[in-house]
Symmetry: C2
Subunit: 358 residues, 2 copies
């Protein structure tokens, strides 16, 4: 296998609007625009992670039309032409298809890396190695659609899984597995089986493919969407987009296509699905607390807590353990770490009682 030398593009899917990290994440400030770890946003970090691999003029950002300006502000090296503003949220398949149509128009012989904008991955160098191997594999295997799998570290029930078989070989020294099946979020028993069995990987929604292969796949398995976007003008996209089928890449393309391959990621990855996920991502400080955001934390007789605030706001913890404490200018959340996945329930209460805080 050799790298054919296609131009390499990246598509950053930044259209998410989740509320699982409320009150930090809001309708107007979804997770990818938060500074959770370090001084830049997850979106910026997603681009920084590609440095040396994909140059900024070949990075496309797909985000909500409301967030185009913010994305431009954060990413001055990415030209305005490369930031696509979705007129409506239609899940990931239309997003990937629109970006593919755009890249096909500009650089049909290219290869693409498609990444969510709101993940934390470390170390970046290891991730780039995996991507390089995946790119090489995608370019050398006609028709291959490549995805990345995360080796499970615990029996997670919050992710879909990729079911694999024996490795079919390697690419640039990294093993490549055929994907036999996409598995929906399992129950706890099933997740435990998956963990022990060793044939299942977390599906992180990251893809590598040549533009040509992806276009073919979309044409075959997502024909209507592809036809609406392929060769369409900006205005045609704007008009067509809201009527496109809202479906994920997994369901709308990958589960239907054959020739799916997976490269494993054996290092830190998190989609930060809840505040408690930050515990695995952010090292504990001297007092054993995990400080997200850039705000100071002062703790006395307090450990195992996860905090978030901005640099002008201090969180002071006295005699409390294993809490999530999140401070924003107009709302504070306090909940036990092991209940942080229930923040959705709090958000549901807000829908009834305090819409302005969503």
């Amino acid at each position: 296998m050799t790298n054919s030398g296609n131009n390499l593009w990246a598509v950053i899917m930044a259209g998410g609007g989740g509320t699982r990290l409320w009150p930090a994440s809001r309708r107007n400030t979804p997770k990818q625009f938060l500074r959770l770890h370090g001084h830049s946003t997850l979106l910026e970090q997603t681009c920084e992670r590609l440095e040396g691999l994909v140059s900024p003029e070949r990075i496309l950002i797909v985000t909500s039309s409301e967030h185009v300006a913010e994305a431009q502000r954060l990413l001055p090296k990415v030209s305005a032409d490369n930031i696509l503003g979705e007129p409506a949220a239609r899940n990931t398949l239309p997003c990937v298809a629109w970006a593919c149509a755009e890249i096909a128009r500009r650089d049909p012989g290219s290869t693409q890396i498609v990444l969510p904008a709101d993940h934390l991955i470390e170390p970046a160098e290891a991730f780039r190695d995996t991507l390089r191997a995946a790119v090489a594999f995608a370019e050398c295997n006609a028709g291959a659609l490549v995805t990345l799998g995360i080796r499970p570290t615990h029996p997670a029930t919050g992710f879909g899984y990729l079911q694999t078989d024996k490795a079919i070989g390697d690419s640039l020294g990294q093993e490549v597995f055929p994907v036999e099946r996409f598995v929906e979020k399992p129950d706890a028993a099933k997740a435990q089986e998956f963990l022990v069995g060793g044939k299942h990987y977390w599906n992180g929604g990251m893809f590598i493919w040549t533009t040509e292969n992806l276009a073919k796949g979309l044409e075959t398995h997502a024909t209507e969407t592809w036809n609406a976007l392929d060769g369409a003008s900006a205005q045609q996209v704007r008009l067509a987009y809201p009527s496109l089928e809202s479906v994920s890449v997994d369901v709308g393309l990958m589960e239907k296509a054959g020739n799916i391959f997976m490269l494993p990621m054996g290092y830190m990855w998190s989609d930060i699905g809840s505040w408690s996920a930050l515990e695995e991502v952010i090292p504990a400080d001297d007092c054993g607390n995990h400080r997200s955001g850039s705000g100071p934390l002062i703790a006395k007789d307090a450990k195992g807590n996860i905090t978030f605030s901005d640099k002008n706001h201090t969180i002071a913890l006295l005699g409390v353990d294993n809490l999530v404490v999140v401070s924003t200018p107009d709302a504070t959340l306090v909940c036990p770490k092991d209940k942080s996945q229930n923040v959705r329930a709090m958000v549901d209460l807000l829908k009834e009682r305090a819409q302005d805080l969503l």
Copy 2:
């Protein structure tokens, strides 16, 4: 006993600078300037409680010179002449002596009520009844210095106590007790004895006396301080004040004087010595939480918590019980209710690490 009809004055001691309610209370915003319960500050509520009993032109506020402007802003009915700005904090005796010298100059035949600015007392009508009885007693009993005692509701170790004997009679239908002894903060066993014995009352630092009796008492027992302030010009006070002995009224006057009498308060009184004190003062909401300040509280599976925030800041509690959660623009405190008296320890940490938050 009959009311002699002296003009009645009130002296509001608003010089405290405590940090026990940090992060709401700060050097620049001590407790008396906080809106803890209802829409006005404790200082305003202290004045409002006297409505119908003392007219605003006879209310003197003694506060730190730095807080004079804020006191004027809050109390537009009190003239600027009636707000005395202490050039230095010297505990309560110099404060009471200065106010006495001022009242003696303006209205020597008057009677005074001296009250801390940072207590919560309800109902106001019952309190005014006690004050009326205390005033009548002080005016009809030559040489009497009168104080109010709070009937203990639990074996508190955080207060000084007044030790009494049998009631000597009544004033306007309220029993009057001789004070035999001022007792320093007791240990838990002693406090339990006091509670059971029925002869001890909490010392709330509230006093009623004629200006003439107080002046005599000060001249006798706090001679140096009195001589420095009696008849002094504003500039003389400013120069002398910082060198006055820093001592409380209890220690510098009451413990030395005879002829001390006490009227009991049998209703809600709190000096709000810690966040947890608000639990007894602020009724629980439907979810069983105690909301201080004017900020909204949204609770799910959360009860017995005490919260404080201002009206533009929502506190959201999910699955936590018996916490204190205080949000201010630059700092948030989270601690268990039963540890809230340790906020001082947090403040000590701040002295080392974040002076600007004090």
